[in-house]
Symmetry: C2
Subunit: 419 residues, 2 copies
């Protein structure tokens, strides 16, 4: 039997450590060259498989693959392309398997969040029903930390560290100036429908910073929020608000949809932070500043959590080991065994239980008043931001690798990708 | 003659290294205890002198003063309070001198930008005319880098490093996703009327990133800007726009004043970034993301430039040495002697030439097309972001010191501060 090749793809929003998982997959495969041939990577994620644009990672040096460990974003390109259901677009799934077959691919490593876990599961199912031997392993990745069955998701710990550090630093700035200038600072963070990222701002509160967190899990109560800000500013002279992009009114409207219109009458230019800041200004007349961290937070490899970077690598490594152990349709997971000292083992979960199952902040991780984190939330979060894992620098900037990304010759006719 | 005491105050917007200057002042004074008694610090800057709220820094341990070197923001509090002209409010200047006299203060170290240089100069003049012996030394500080007579200003190099690193990281993110998602990323940075901070985004261009910079020094030309973005996206698949908060239309209107109104008809919630992003969307139909770094950029001690932190300390140190050498009404300066290898000496400049004299980006530091930096600009900027100077971390967060900030007993009647 000829050596089987592997296919690896990055999916959805990238993170500062998704390439560490890629490094874990490729380096581990290289150590098992007797059983895994070439690792092909999809150019721009799963689109690369559909379009048969397979990057030959064997043309990258060991040094380049090692450097992925400290390089943010998606080195092979990622995509926001969700395969439709098997019923609606069976052709796409079949195409994936045709491409895998044409290139002798027997291992499929898909590195993403909930949607890609679902795709990975379906590809696995269909390959079985088509009689094509394929081992499909999902490698978890999402800054939103909303995957079930794993204690945390690679990518999250580093964003949490960025948000905790930034909240602390900016709050010290505000504290310095509050006597005559800004009294309320609003920082908007990502996280979609889950408040995990916003929760990280609560870690700055342990350093004496008055922080108000607006979670998506707690419907926004404007009078209560304003009263809270007022009380903190009266007591401390200032406060910092960390608002999740997913924070919303009880009727479901996001805070960002506050009806802001531009000169042309178009809907708001975005941002929950300016809306919240303006709200505080109108109710309390306090001077404010606001920031929207946006992509800065999820690409900030310069302040990555060492714990997160290590786990991202380990889960990539473990995915390959699971494949070599004959597993299929599974995802390696982090299983926490102790908060303090932090300890975890790496387990695995069946993909059919991962897909379509978002994990929100448990209510008891949030303080009783809904504006901070509880001791339980703190105990969960703290281990995930531990340790610094600095990239090398040259000429004042981090040394991030750009790969050659050379694709192999196509063997199949072109395929039209559904829009 | 009794030993003279010193007064130190922080002024205006704080930076990630202004406390390094404080550390330089206090540690150097402590080494000359035979000639300088106590260093008092103004609580909330010059307001502390007017209100006779003098923090006794001798109550802080050597370790705490050393830790200021890696702690961002203003450890004693700063303020946005500009003394009026001598003619308009002579009482305030006289009050300063009364407070200095009551507490035996013979040295005045004022750590700030152009306005505080002006105040420092006037206090020096008035003390002479009142026959009170005072040596007034200004310690430069401003992220805007707009002080004359010094090659650069402490605070700027660290913001420049933050902006260069963030532009590089976020651009790698956009590059990963551009095939199916965001094609234009807009980052708004500070700098007031000078484009120094925005220019730092141009350092990411050396790493293959297509960057468009919108400088305050170049009046905004919307059709030309849109054409530039269009060309870059067609060629690279994406681009990053770094817009200065001071960027403006030819008629002087800031880009941020694009007429955005909220639900109540109030003027815009702020931000040049969302305005520029929306402009690109309307003209080219491209998917965008935007970020406003705001205070995050000037408080980001975690990614401070080692060059900047060192210079901030050295200028604080030199300020005390100048005082001990009998100088008055001067500011220590950075005098660059070589770009590569970077070399500088520390000089000094008379305060009457510093005040009211903003330094903008020279046109030849900006590329011919107005959207990037020239080789000359690059040669200027690169040395200033060199080196990393990481704070210590505990439990995943930087260890930043908070001082005791105990004030000494007042000796004078209360003074009403002008609003």
């Amino acid at each position: 039997m000829p050596t089987l090749h592997a296919f690896y793809a990055q999916s959805g929003g990238v993170t500062s450590v998704i390439n560490a998982s890629a490094s874990g997959v490729i380096e581990t495969a290289r150590r098992h060259a007797d059983r895994i041939g070439t690792v092909y990577a999809g150019r721009n994620g799963i689109l690369g498989a559909l379009a048969e644009e397979l990057i030959d990672t064997s043309r990258e040096s060991d040094a380049a693959i090692a450097a992925l460990r400290t390089t943010p974003a998606g080195a092979f390109g990622s995509c926001r392309y969700k395969l439709k259901s098997l019923e609606k677009n069976r052709r796409e799934y079949e195409r994936l398997i045709e491409v895998f077959k044409a290139h002798g691919i027997g291992y499929f490593f898909y590195n993403g969040g909930g949607d890609s876990a679902d795709t990975c599961f379906k590809v696995s199912q269909l390959s079985q029903s088509m009689g094509y031997a394929l081992q499909a392993i999902h490698v978890p990745k999402t800054i939103d930390n909303d995957l079930p069955l794993t204690d945390c998701c690679p990518g999250f710990g580093s964003v949490a560290k960025y948000v905790a550090v930034s909240t602390l630093e900016a709050s010290l700035d505000v504290r310095s100036m509050a006597a005559t200038s800004t009294k309320v600072f609003v920082l908007e963070v990502m996280g979609r429908h889950a408040g995990w990222i916003a929760a990280a701002g609560g870690l700055a509160a342990d350093h004496g910073i008055p922080v108000v967190i607006l979670f998506p899990e707690i419907p926004f109560d404007q009078p209560a929020f304003i009263a809270r800000v007022d009380a903190l500013v009266k007591h401390h002279g200032y406060c910092t608000v960390v608002v999740s992009e997913g924070a919303h009114h009880p009727d479901g409207r996001f805070l960002a949809e506050q009806g802001t219109k531009d000169a042309f009458g178009h809907a708001q230019l975005g941002g929950a932070a300016p809306v919240v800041a303006q709200m505080v200004k109108e109710a309390l007349g306090l001077k404010f500043h606001w920031a929207v961290a946006d992509y800065l937070q999820r690409s900030a490899r310069h302040i990555a959590s060492a714990t997160d970077a290590r786990q991202a690598y380990e889960l990539g490594q473990r995915a390959v080991e699971l494949a070599l152990e004959g597993k299929n349709s599974v995802m390696p997971t982090i299983e926490r065994t102790s908060d303090s000292p932090y300890a975890y083992t790496i387990g695995s979960a069946p993909l059919d239980q991962v897909a379509n199952n978002e994990k929100f902040m448990p209510r008891d991780y949030i303080s009783a008043d809904g504006y901070g984190i509880s001791d339980k939330g703190r105990a969960y979060l703290l281990p995930l931001i531990q340790g610094e894992d600095y990239p090398d620098y040259r000429d004042g900037l981090p040394v991030y690798v750009s790969l050659k990304n050379e694709t192999v010759a196509k063997k199949l006719p072109a395929f039209e990708i559904a829009k």
